[in-house]
């Protein structure tokens, strides 16, 4: 489903975030990418989600080479993903319902079907009662769950999460872990970047450990 072949990423200024990564993630896998800050976890996720292109080597997603994809095709590739960001990137000028609606809007869903799916997604993360709330009134854990609802509402084949438990306590982190497990059980490929080892250990996923931009053995 996603395969890296000798992929490296060098940012302008000379920082080499990833070095010679070769790995493959199969459909339906649950994978945790671990390592210290600056080990290249986020960069690996960005390459996998076609948010950035590799400097050298290749990244293949669903049979498409991210490095050579023409810009017009990238939005359609991205629709295969559900993305959960470290800073959540919620829109604070609209309600929880409208935040979750955004991907369906972009995908061109019919209105009633879209509303049904939004409610299903909010229900899944336990926020159905707060569909009219604005993100600023939600707690940190609720905001993170709202971000997850937005990521899964269009039923993506691949869920990518960057530090989803970054600022959550252990109890909330466990909730989020359970959510990820349930998505994975219905066939969604889940890729999580985290430095929270307790969080990783509980779910017993395949672990890809990074160290200073390279795969740690």
């Amino acid at each position: 489903m996603i395969s890296f072949s000798h992929a490296s990423k060098r940012y302008p200024g000379g920082l080499e975030a990833l070095r010679n990564i070769t790995l493959a993630i199969e459909a339906g896998e649950m994978v945790f990418v671990t390592g210290h800050s600056g080990a290249g976890k986020s960069t690996l996720l960005k390459l996998a989600a076609a948010l950035e292109r590799p400097s050298t080597g290749s990244v293949i997603v669903n049979g498409q080479n991210v490095g050579t994809l023409r810009p017009g095709a990238i939005p359609f590739l991205r629709r295969n993903f559900g993305l959960i960001f470290q800073d959540q990137k919620l829109l604070f000028d609209r309600t929880a319902f409208d935040n979750v609606m955004l991907p369906l809007h972009i995908n061109g869903f019919e209105r009633r079907e879209a509303a049904r799916r939004v409610r299903a997604a909010l229900d899944k993360v336990g926020l159905l009662a707060k569909e009219k709330a604005y993100p600023v009134t939600l707690s940190g854990g609720e905001q993170q769950r709202l971000a997850i609802a937005r990521a899964i509402v269009h039923r993506p084949a691949i869920l990518l999460a960057d530090e989803p438990t970054g600022n959550l306590d252990a109890v909330h982190a466990a909730d989020i872990g359970e959510l990820f497990r349930s998505f994975n059980q219905v066939g969604v490929t889940v890729i999580v970047a985290t430095h929270d080892e307790a969080f990783a250990a509980r779910l017993k996923p395949r672990v890809i450990a990074l160290k200073a931009g390279a795969l740690a053995q």
């Binding site: 948010l51 993903f81 829109l91 995908n107 019919e110």
Partner: protein
């Protein structure tokens, strides 16, 4: 298809909502566009009115038809009958050569010169009032009559008509130039409005790009906004002109009564009104399009 229509309707509704959220800013923007458009459009209306009145008020153009010097009485009558039958002729007045000589003597103070002539040098003539007063129609009539038998020369007194046409053409050109300038202003106003909107909605655009929105999807609400704002501006211009004419017509009614004439300024025709609205909407769209293309590329998700 249905989803696509829904999306367009949704964008439309969201755009209207955005106007309603900032009523004062919307009012000022629409006002600026309206005034900018009202100036050239108002001038155009004045010009159209001027054209109508100039054609009705100015003295009618005439044709002077001169016969050959040796034309006999019978042939004069034949020509007169033919002129009066002609569909392009409203009225034809016969001026005999004797009468013309008398007029020349009386009007110009050349009595001595005229008296010294051995014979009358003037031909018989007709003064023709044509039915149609457009320069092209006049010229056509002149060419036709001059081909008749015994006609020596046809003089077209259409200089005034040509001068008026030339003057109006120049005025039209001035209106066109003014319209071009203000059209540019409209595009600039929209460009800046959209630029500010893109800046304030930067986050939303970034997120939308991250989760797979295509560029047309992101562009669409801004294009709608530009087009609707332009349309509203066009409507404002139309209302400004309407109000102006209404006020002027009130004043004119009094004046017309004093002159015992009917003077009334006409508003833009339905076709011209539709053109004004379509043009303003298109200009708004263009301004938005330029702005979005300019600024959207700068927002790349990180």
């Amino acid at each position: 298809m249905k989803a696509w229509l829904w999306h367009h309707f949704d964008t439309f509704a969201a755009t209207c909502a955005r106007f309603a959220r900032a009523p004062v800013a919307t009012l000022f923007n629409v006002g600026v566009i309206g005034i900018a458009l009202a100036l050239p459009a108002g001038l155009y209306v004045s010009l159209v009115n001027l054209q109508v009145h100039a054609r009705t008020l100015a003295s009618d153009p005439q044709l002077s038809v001169f016969l050959a010097l040796d034309t006999g009485r019978a042939e004069v009558e034949k020509t007169e009958a033919r002129l009066k039958r002609h569909p392009g002729v409203r009225e034809a007045r016969y001026v005999s050569r004797e009468e013309a000589l008398k007029e020349l003597k009386a009007d110009t103070g050349l009595a001595d010169v005229v008296d010294s002539l051995a014979q009358n040098p003037l031909p018989d003539a007709f003064v023709v009032q044509p039915r149609e007063t457009a320069p092209q129609a006049l010229e056509k009539l002149r060419d036709e009559i001059s081909r008749w038998p015994r006609i020596a020369h046809v003089q077209l007194d259409a200089a005034w008509a040509r001068r008026l046409e030339a003057g109006l053409k120049l005025a039209h050109l001035a209106v066109g130039l003014l319209a071009a300038l203000f059209a540019f202003a409209l595009v600039a106003v929209t460009f800046n409005t959209i630029r500010l909107q893109i800046l304030t909605r930067r986050e939303e655009i970034e997120v939308a790009k991250l989760i797979g929105a295509t560029d047309p999807f992101i562009r669409r609400p801004f294009l709608y906004f530009g087009a609707l704002q332009g349309l509203a501006g066009g409507l404002a211009a139309w209302l400004i002109i309407w109000a102006g004419l209404w006020l002027l017509n009130g004043g004119l009614a009094e004046l017309a009564q004093l002159y015992a004439a009917r003077i009334e300024l006409r508003h833009l025709s339905a076709g011209d009104s539709a053109s004004l609205l379509a043009f303003s909407a298109w200009l708004g769209w263009l301004g938005a399009w330029l702005s979005v293309n300019q600024h959207l590329a700068q927002i790349a998700p990180r």
